[in-house]
């Protein structure tokens, strides 16, 4: 058995050398093939989806990859609960049980800064037909450092304004074709007075996940911190304007206050700000429309949330995992992934292509709220030590939602709380 493995391994080396030499002579670079023995590589990728259709897609792609890669024994997709995803992943890493590949959201900056992720740029550029230049520049920034890409941004979902047309009609309200925040707030308040339903809901905010409020404050030209993440932006005039708007919205019941549950997709509110990918929750129980984010005092803008997938340096199979990642994300498989996740590839970003697999939104809607938005969209705030910054700022911001709160004073305490972390 061992002799057979050694022979196969030697043969693999010879083949690999031949392939590299052959490709070199043809002028089309291809990453070095693995020298691992057949069936000796088991890959594990952590994901936060438990959607059976999505997991089936991943498994299907992995099965196709295995057919041409004898070294692969198994590829498993480890579905971890979203709420505890970061904690579980870091615990696995600390416990010496790190996956080979991992989805990541706001943990990406910590992983990149710590050098825990394998660089991808060279491999992806050298993979024939991968077409690295097809990646949209605006979506690679969060997963890059010093010009090197460390995670493939497979999901780029802009935030949009969802409207429950039935609730608006019930309240005798009508939204303009290019809504502003003031208009949304006024209609929201009127809807609450007329129907008892909520006005606008920033989905997932729940007076805790304040980073989702970037979907509002960007309309006032505010930022949580500056571009290099060293200066707190909460004490700016723009941020004060945005939070004054939010406080007013809360006090006029245009936005439900803390501790009040209202689910737009269950028909509880007139509007919600949510990612386009949430359209899957629309079950047809009410008439709806979707718009880009409302215009703020600083004009039109777009915000998007991202997820990436990278290879952990601690993996015993970095080369094989990187190779599988390049296969998982090549143009053909990226098109398959696009049915669930707005892709980072310009070639796939057309309303028609996105609509081919989307039964909830039309090609025109997808063109308007995804394709037209992504090139200039800004990501949700992301920084190293995301959980600590989130908790410190949340603790300070809790005072914002109490009666008579001094907006500027509260925002100043947010900066006091997170400045030491930003400077680390």
């Amino acid at each position: 058995m061992n002799t057979a493995r050694k022979l196969l391994g030697t043969a693999a080396v010879v083949v690999a050398v031949g392939v590299v030499a052959g490709c070199g002579s043809a002028g089309a670079p291809t990453p070095a093939r693995t020298t691992a023995a057949p069936g000796s590589v088991d890959l594990r990728m952590t994901v936060w989806t438990s959607n059976e259709a999505q997991l089936a897609l991943f498994t299907g792609i992995a099965d196709a990859y295995k057919k041409d890669h004898a070294e692969i024994g198994t590829i498993t997709f480890d579905s971890l609960p979203f709420a505890d995803y970061n904690t579980t992943l870091t615990t696995q890493i600390a416990g010496g049980n790190a996956p080979d590949l991992a989805w990541m959201g706001d943990l990406s900056r910590d992983l990149i800064t710590a050098g825990a992720l394998a660089p991808l740029t060279e491999t992806l550029k050298d993979t024939e037909g991968w077409d690295y230049d097809d990646l949209l520049q605006s979506v690679t920034g969060q997963f890059s450092q010093d010009g090197q890409l460390y995670a493939y941004p497979f999901s780029n979902s802009p935030f949009a304004l969802y409207v429950n047309e039935d609730v608006l009609a019930q309240a005798g309200q009508k939204l303009s074709s290019s809504p502003t925040w003031d208009e949304v707030s006024k209609i929201g308040s009127a809807v609450h007075s007329a129907t008892g339903k909520a006005g606008f809901v920033i989905r997932d905010f729940n007076y805790s996940a304040w980073n989702t409020l970037a979907t509002v404050w960007t309309g006032w030209g505010a930022e949580a911190w500056n571009a290099d993440g060293t200066q707190c932006g909460f004490d700016s005039d723009q941020m004060a304007g945005a939070f004054t708007f939010l406080r007013d919205a809360m006090e006029t019941s245009a936005m439900p206050g803390p501790g009040t549950q209202a689910d737009f997709f269950a028909g509880d509110s007139a509007f919600t700000i949510a990612q386009v990918s949430r359209a899957a929750l629309l079950d047809g129980s009410f008439r709806y429309s979707v718009h880009p984010l409302p215009t703020g005092p600083a004009g039109a803008y777009s915000v998007f949330g991202q997820a990436g997938v990278g290879v952990l340096q601690s993996s015993p199979h970095v080369q094989e995992a990187t190779d599988f990642l390049s296969y998982l994300t090549d143009p053909e498989n990226a098109a398959k992934l696009a049915q669930f996740f707005p892709p980072p590839r310009q070639s796939l970003l057309t309303g028609e292509k996105l609509a081919a697999n989307n039964t909830k939104l039309t090609a025109a809607q997808l063109q308007e709220v995804v394709v037209d938005q992504l090139p200039n969209a800004v990501p949700l705030p992301n920084h190293t030590r995301p959980a600590e910054i989130a908790q410190k700022a949340k603790t300070a911001l809790d005072a914002m939602w109490t009666p008579g709160a001094d907006v500027r004073a509260v925002l100043s305490t947010v900066c006091d709380a997170i400045d030491p972390l930003l400077s680390k």
């Binding site: 970061n86 904690t87 870091t90 615990t91 890493i93 600390a94 010496g96 910590d110 992983l111 710590a114 050098g115 825990a116 007076y207 805790s208 206050g257 803390p258 501790g259 009040t260 549950q261 601690s314 030590r385 959980a387 600590e388 908790q391 949340k394 603790t395 809790d398 005072a399 939602w401 109490t402």
Partner: protein, 320 residues
């Protein structure tokens, strides 16, 4: 008849006593040693458990508390007492300790007080007493997370509690979102869930009090209040000690209630020490500082338990 042979107590023996042969070898497995071995074998599983799940983790905790561990790269750097110094100057820690004291104090007082009251009431004979005992005990067997999730919905601003209050004309509060009421809400849900355990322990203790003592007291003209404080309480004081230790340790270790209901907020008003340890170690990935705080919590628990154990001599009554 011959006279009995006498032993020469001065050292010699009478001529009739046969000479003593070589001394028999003493057996290693004496009864005492067998008993001791049996005892050790019986406690061996527990000893292994204590070693693996207590001694080793505490030792690792001490080790981690003196190191900075970058869990993303696995690199560890010795920092000595740096984390202990950081704890002393942590601006959030006073608020966390205050919340811990408020939560533990509230839970302990209400849990023991209500548990004893319920036990005294349900120790009487009346129709449906078994049903009431079952009802009050039933929350204990419910999963703490499920219990807390349900109460989370009930305590929302537009939740069931406020709907009931509104129906009877009382304005409800935003229980979990206001610093003044969040701790009350967390303590309340914890007490309602766990008071059944103390109630059952007190019931068992009450039923062990000899009836003739009550009878004698009544004949002597003692009032119910006197009977309770002079007979009942002293005789169930060992159970009071047990419940006090269990409740205090349990209150200091409460985690799920905070994590599910309030996530420590608003502000730091419900951030108890266990939750703070979790945040530092697992959410912020600062294992070193988290371990330092965990050791601090361990010290509190040990100190309070030892204190109660010493004070028992002053108030715990033993019949013997």
């Amino acid at each position: 008849m011959t006279a009995p042979t006498l032993v020469d107590t001065r050292g010699g023996m009478s001529a009739d006593v046969p000479p003593r042969g070589p001394l028999p070898q003493r057996l290693f497995w004496t009864t005492g040693r067998r008993d001791a071995l049996t005892g050790y074998l019986f406690i061996l599983p527990q000893l292994i458990g204590v070693l693996v799940f207590v001694i080793v983790p505490v030792g690792l905790g001490v080790f981690y508390s003196m190191n900075d561990w970058n869990i993303f790269t696995g690199k560890m750097q010795f920092v000595g007492g740096e984390h202990y110094a950081a704890a002393l100057s942590d601006p959030q820690l006073p608020a966390v300790l205050a919340a811990t004291a408020a939560f533990s104090g509230g839970v302990v007082v209400l849990n023991i007080g209500l548990g004893l009251l319920l036990a005294v009431l349900l120790n009487r004979r009346f129709r449906g007493v078994t049903l009431f005992r079952t009802l009050f005990f039933s929350p204990v067997v419910v999963s703490v997370v499920a219990w807390t999730l349900v109460w989370g919905f009930l305590l929302q601003d537009n939740g069931g509690i406020n709907a009931v209050l509104e129906a009877v004309g009382i304005p409800g509060a935003n229980w979990l979102q206001q610093g003044s009421t969040a701790m009350l809400a967390v303590v309340f849900t914890q007490v309602v869930r766990s008071v059944g355990i103390n109630m059952i322990l007190f019931l068992a203790a009450l039923q062990g009090v000899p009836g003739e003592l009550y009878e004698a007291a009544r004949i002597d003209g003692a009032r119910p209040r006197t009977i309770f404080f002079r007979i009942t309480l002293p005789l169930i004081s060992p159970t009071l000690l047990l419940t006090a230790i269990i409740t205090i340790v349990g209150a200091l270790q409460a985690f799920a209630q905070i994590a599910v209901l309030t996530e420590g907020g608003p502000g730091l008003s419900t951030t108890v020490l266990v939750y703070y340890v979790y945040q530092q170690a697992f959410a912020f990935n600062d294992i070193g500082y988290g371990s330092t705080l965990a050791l601090m919590l361990l010290s509190f628990v040990l100190l309070l338990t030892l204190l109660q154990w010493q004070l028992r001599k002053k108030w715990v009554f033993y019949e013997s």
